[in-house]
C-alpha cells in the first residue's frame, strides 16, 4: 500500500480559542483516491479541508501532509464580486505560486498554462467575461481551471455543487471524473449530499456530532447511519 499523502492521527480540529469541533479524527488519504467529506451543515466538513490545506492548525493530535501541491476550489460565494476581474484573471491566480521574478512563468508561458486549464474545464468561451457576472456553474468551471493552473497533486473542493442546477451538477461531476482520470489527481470534496456524486467517490468520511467515520464508499453506503441517509435521498 502506498504512503498516505495526508494523515490525520487522533487529531482534534477546530478554531483557536474555541472548543474543538471534531475530536479523535483518523483519516488517511492516498494517491489516486477520491474522497467525499459528507455531513450536515455546520458539522465541520470544511474544517477538515482547511486543516488539511494548512489554513488552520490542528488543535491536538497529529497531521502529516507529505509535501504535496494543492489545487483549492473554495465556495464560490466567498469571493467578493466587487473585484473587477475577468474569468481569465481569476484562473491566472493559480500560477502565482512564486514571485513573478522567480516563477519562470512569464507573459506567454503563463498565458498558455491558463488557456490550457480554461479549455480543459470548458471555460474558454467565457474567459474574458467578468467573473462576478458568470452563472454558478461557469464560476465553478473557472475555479477548477484556477486550481489546475496550480499543477496540483491533490484537488480540494468545498461544496462545488451548492446552488447549481441538476444538469450543471452532472456536467461538473463528469468533468471532475474526466480530469481525475486524465491528470491522475487525488481529490477531496466536501458535500452535504450523496446521491449525485456517489459513483465517483472511492472513499467517504461521514462527519457527525463531533466525530468522523471513514471507509471505502461501497461499505459506508451499505451499512450504518450514512446508508440510512443515502437511502432516504433516493
Amino acid at each position: 500500500m502506498t504512503e498516505p499523502l495526508i494523515r490525520f492521527n487522533r487529531a482534534s480540529l477546530g478554531y483557536d480559542g474555541k472548543a474543538p469541533l471534531l475530536t479523535k479524527v483518523d483519516l488517511e488519504i492516498r494517491g489516486g483516491e477520491f474522497w467525499g467529506i459528507l455531513g450536515h451543515n455546520g458539522s465541520g466538513k470544511t474544517t477538515i479541508l482547511k486543516t488539511a490545506l494548512g489554513l488552520i492548525p490542528s488543535l491536538r493530535g497529529k497531521l502529516a501532509v507529505k509535501g504535496v501541491r494543492f489545487g483549492y476550489v473554495p465556495q464560490k460565494e466567498r469571493l467578493d464580486p466587487i473585484y473587477p476581474l475577468s474569468a481569465r484573471d481569476v484562473a491566472e491566480m493559480g500560477t502565482y505560486r512564486k514571485l513573478e521574478l522567480f516563477s519562470g512563468l512569464r507573459g506567454r508561458g503563463r498565458a498558455d498554462v491558463v488557456r490550457r486549464c480554461l479549455a480543459e474545464c470548458g471555460a474558454s468561451a467565457f474567459s474574458e467575461r467578468r467573473f462576478s457576472d458568470l452563472s454558478g456553474g461557469q464560476k465553478q468551471r473557472v475555479l477548477l481551471a484556477r486550481a489546475l493552473a496550480a499543477e496540483p497533486e491533490i484537488l480540494v473542493l468545498d461544496e462545488p455543487l451548492a446552488g447549481i442546477d441538476i444538469t450543471t451538477q452532472q456536467a461538473l461531476l463528469a468533468l471532475l471524473a474526466s480530469l481525475k482520470g486524465r491528470l491522475d489527481l487525488t481529490i477531496m470534496m466536501v458535500s452535504h449530499r450523496v446521491r449525485a456524486e456517489k459513483g465517483l467517490f472511492t472513499h467517504l468520511a461521514w462527519v457527525d456530532e463531533g466525530r468522523v467515520t471513514t471507509g471505502p464508499a461501497a461499505e459506508m453506503l451499505s451499512t450504518g447511519r450514512l446508508a440510512e441517509i443515502f437511502r432516504s435521498e433516493l
Binding site: 490545506l53 494548512g54 494543492f70 483549492y72 473554495p74 473585484y83 473587477p84 475577468s86 502565482y96
Partner: protein, 285 residues
C-alpha cells in the same frame, strides 16, 4: 490656455505645489484601490486623521522640551513624519489584527478611532507650548511652502510606492481576493499584507504632511470609486484610478489658482465631479 502653460512652466512660482499635488493624486489611488476592494473605505477616513494626530503629538513633545531631532525647520519636518508614520503604522497593525479576529463591529471601531484621533489632534495642538500656527499649517498640508529638498524626497518615496504597487500587484490582489488560495499556493499572506499595509502607512503619512488629511482621504477613495465601473482587470483599475486622481489634482489646482480658492477643498470637489461624471456616463452606456 495661457494659465495652463504658465502652470506647466518650470519657472512657475508654485511649481513644487502643482507637481506635488499631481504626484499625490497619481499615487494615492494606487493604494486606495485596495481600500475599496477590501471594503475598508472607512480606514481611508480614519488613518489620515490618525496620521495628523501623530504629527501633532510629535510637535507637542518638541514643545514640551523633549527634543528628539535637531536641525531647525528640516528637523521639525522629519519629526512630524516620524510621528505620522509611527501613529499610522501602529494603528494599521492593531486594526488589521482586530479584522483578522473578526469580532466586534468593524465600522464601529473605525468611527470611534476617527473621533479619538480628531480629538487627540486638537488636544495635542492645545497642549503645544510653541508654534501653534506653524503646526496647524503642517496639519492642513503645506504643499505651497514645501522646500526643494523635501519635494524631491517626496517624489522619491512616492515613486518607490508606485513601482512597488505595480511590481507586486499580483501578490496584493491574490491575498486581498482569496487569502486561503494564497496560503495553499505557499505564499505568506501575512507577509504580503504587512508589506501592503507598510506601503499604505508610508503613503498616508507623507501625503498628510503634503496635502493634509482631507485631500488624502479624497484621493484614496474617490478616484478608485470613479474608475471601478470602467475597469476590466486590476491593472486597468489601478491605472485608471491613478489617472483620474492625477487629473483631479491638476484640475483642482487650476481652479484654485485662477479663482484664488483654498487648494484642498477644490481638489476634493474636482475629484467628486469626476466621480459624478463617471457614474452618469456608466448609466448611459
Amino acid at each position: 490656455m495661457s494659465v495652463i502653460l504658465e502652470m506647466l512652466s518650470p519657472d512657475f512660482l508654485l511649481h513644487h505645489a502643482i507637481w506635488g499635488s499631481v504626484v499625490v493624486g497619481f499615487v494615492c489611488p494606487l493604494v486606495g484601490v485596495y481600500f475599496v476592494l477590501r471594503r475598508l473605505v472607512f480606514w481611508g477616513v480614519a488613518l489620515p486623521q490618525v496620521s495628523a494626530s501623530g504629527i501633532a503629538f510629535a510637535f507637542m513633545l518638541q514643545g514640551l522640551g523633549l527634543t528628539i531631532l535637531e536641525g531647525g525647520e528640516s528637523g521639525e519636518r522629519h519629526l512630524a513624519i516620524a510621528g505620522a508614520v509611527v501613529f499610522t503604522l501602529g494603528t494599521i497593525l492593531v486594526l488589521a489584527a482586530l479584522e483578522r479576529r473578526g469580532r466586534g463591529l468593524s465600522e464601529g471601531r473605525i468611527g470611534a478611532l476617527y473621533a479619538l484621533a480628531s480629538a487627540a489632534t486638537i488636544l495635542f495642538v492645545a497642549w503645544n507650548a510653541a508654534g501653534e500656527t506653524e503646526m496647524l499649517g503642517l496639519l492642513k498640508g503645506e504643499i505651497v511652502s514645501i522646500s526643494e529638498r523635501d519635494f524631491h524626497a517626496m517624489l522619491n518615496v512616492f515613486g518607490a510606492v508606485a513601482v512597488a504597487m505595480f511590481l507586486f500587484q499580483r501578490e496584493f490582489t491574490l491575498v486581498s481576493y482569496d487569502r486561503d488560495m494564497a496560503v495553499t499556493l505557499g505564499r505568506s499572506a501575512l507577509a504580503w499584507d504587512a508589506l501592503l499595509f507598510l506601503i499604505i502607512g508610508v503613503t498616508i503619512s507623507l501625503g498628510v504632511m503634503t496635502v493634509g488629511p482631507l485631500v488624502i482621504f479624497g484621493f484614496l477613495v474617490i478616484p478608485p470609486l470613479a474608475a471601478l465601473p470602467w475597469s476590466r482587470g486590476m491593472a486597468s483599475f489601478s491605472v485608471l484610478a491613478s489617472l483620474l486622481g492625477g487629473f483631479s489634482a491638476f484640475a483642482g489646482f487650476y481652479v484654485s489658482y485662477t479663482r484664488d480658492l483654498p487648494l484642498g477643498p477644490v481638489v476634493i470637489c474636482a475629484a467628486c465631479a469626476v466621480y459624478a461624471v463617471s457614474l452618469s456616463a456608466r448609466r448611459l452606456c
